[in-house]
Amino acid sequence: MTDQTHLFIPVEKNDKKLSRGTRRQKGLPDAVSGWLLSLPLALVLLFFLVLPIAMIVVVSFWGATEFSIYPAFLFDNYEFLLTSPVTYQVFLNTVKYALITWAITLVLGFTVAYFLAFHVRSLTWQIVLFLLCTIPFWTSNIIRMISWIPFLGRNGIANSTLISMGVIDEPLEWLLFSDFSVILAFVHLYTLFMVVPIFNTMMRIDKSLIEAAYDNGASGFQTLTNVIIPLTKPGIMIGSIFVVTLVMGDFITVRFMSGSQKANVGRLISNDIALLQYPSAAATAVILLVTVILVIAILLRFVDIRKEL
């Protein structure tokens, strides 16, 4: 069928041991052709990933005046960061956003994927409904954030509906520009990152395992907790990595949806950038990066990504 849908159709894998370049008769050796083919990729990653990170680490030790920055080897930036109560508050807030968003997207994403994988019976419908879930991913995040304004504003749809239903007398102030709207936007933008990997893993579950569970007298719920959830764990882990890192590294959603009233680490960095305090921004960036890598390292203990593709 169509493009990526191939990826989500359960298939048997090739026997890798047999096919991995064991029967080459001519041409370049594997190492050389492998290097040549991955050269453009390696160059992009070197210049736009490795070098920028190295630069950030270097600059995080530099000094800054009000107008310029100068090379040095100072621990001032880190010292200032690690002794400031603001830093801890902001990191705590970032972790809070990440945890709440993760919990909601996990439950919602799992439910949606479960419905698609096990309750929609025709493959065509599965593909159509799956595409419906993924299409917003290919549109602009900023526009999708803006589109919440008419809903959540003081005179927005949510407030006027609730008032006309008699649920509340006065407009709720906490709908827009609050933690609520920030997390709502995160869930809106990132649930997809849970749905796709979980759906992908679910489609690979051998249906006879589920039949076997039923035949042995398991209820639907028991099958879910004892068969489906354990087998879906890799998908859940990959989705979690996506959601947690996207939320932790975000600065634009928090800024926009909180009307600049809430802070997370990303905003701390972008504020420093706006004030041209690059060394301080770089130090914060290094700490953020270390935190994110730690989180991923923990999550990766539960899943082998290469095996799951």
Binding site: Q4, S38, F48, H119, N141, I142, W148, P150, Y278, L288
Partner: protein, 279 residues
């Protein structure tokens, strides 16, 4: 077919609500962008007009919308082509065992999960310190590749994991060179998936914000322009712009899907089994 259980209806309702949640806001601003000239950012509608769309075409009213659109379009196409080529090469490379492959693999994963603002900051720093000019078509381009390439490569890994090697072996047995095997056997089989990679490459670049922030130089791309508008525009003109760009995205997505469907149709009509080489 067995009867639908109650769980089905509960789940179907949740799914439907999820779709409303996904698309509701977008549909709302599409409606609101047709506000009358006196209308505000929310309901009620004060008349129906195309006033705000006309505003978009008046250059002074909203800044350099069309210039930034042209830049985003160009950049999107550049990123798309590069993403497809580099991803295919990378995908082919990773079918072989070569020293350093796991380093590159982990760099790809890092590239995917690293906070976007770090790329922006790091690339921006290198160039501000070295005094080189920052331009969207060089730095912005490279910075966006760090976001589109991982997606392209993950798709290619998934494709090649399912690739039936006997097709290649058959070609080789009949005397095809390595290049001929790729050109006439591998590429036609994976063509529909390449359209998918192209779709990712274009749309992710077209909508990218954080990685372009410090790497685009003095000319804004469309998302940057829109972001600038959110701070100082308080009329439905921003909804009109949002509706137009979203419509454009839908058009692109539809176009790509149509290409894939046509490709598959043509193949089945000619009785070719290309595209079937995935087991």
């Amino acid at each position: 077919m067995e009867k639908r259980s109650r769980a089905f209806y509960v789940l179907a309702t949740i799914f439907a609500l999820f779709l409303v949640f996904l698309y509701g806001p977008t549909i709302t601003i599409a409606i609101l962008s047709f506000q009358g000239p006196q209308g505000g950012l929310t309901f009620p509608m004060r008349g129906v007009s195309v006033h705000w769309f006309e505003d978009l075409f008046r250059q002074q009213a909203v800044g350099d919308i069309w210039g930034s659109f042209a830049r985003s379009l160009t950049l999107g196409l550049m990123v798309m082509v590069t993403t497809v080529i580099v991803s295919v090469m990378g995908g082919l490379a990773f079918r072989k065992r070569f020293p350093g492959s796991s380093v590159i693999f982990y760099l790809i994963i890092t590239s995917l999960v690293i906070p976007s603002i770090l790329i922006s900051l790091g690339v921006g720093l290198i160039f501000s310190q070295s005094g080189l000019a920052v331009h969207w078509s060089t730095l912005g381009f490279g910075a966006q590749l760090t976001w589109t390439l991982p997606f392209g490569l993950l798709i290619m890994f998934a494709v090649f994991n399912r690739f039936d090697k006997s097709y290649e072996e058959a070609a080789r047995d009949q005397g095809a060179s390595a290049w001929q095997t790729i050109r006439y056997v591998v590429l036609p089989i994976i063509a529909p998936m390449l359209i998918g990679v192209a779709l990712f490459g274009f749309t992710l670049s077209y909508d990218e914000f954080a990685r372009t922030l410090l790497t685009s130089g003095s000319y804004n791309t469309l998302p940057l322009e829109i972001y600038g508008m959110t701070t100082n525009v308080t009329t439905p003109v921003i909804f009109a712009l949002g509706t137009l760009t979203t419509a454009f995205s839908f058009l692109i997505i539809g176009l790509f899907l149509a290409i894939v469907i046509t490709l598959n149709r043509r193949r089945s009509k000619h009785g070719s089994d290309a595209g079937q080489g995935l087991v």
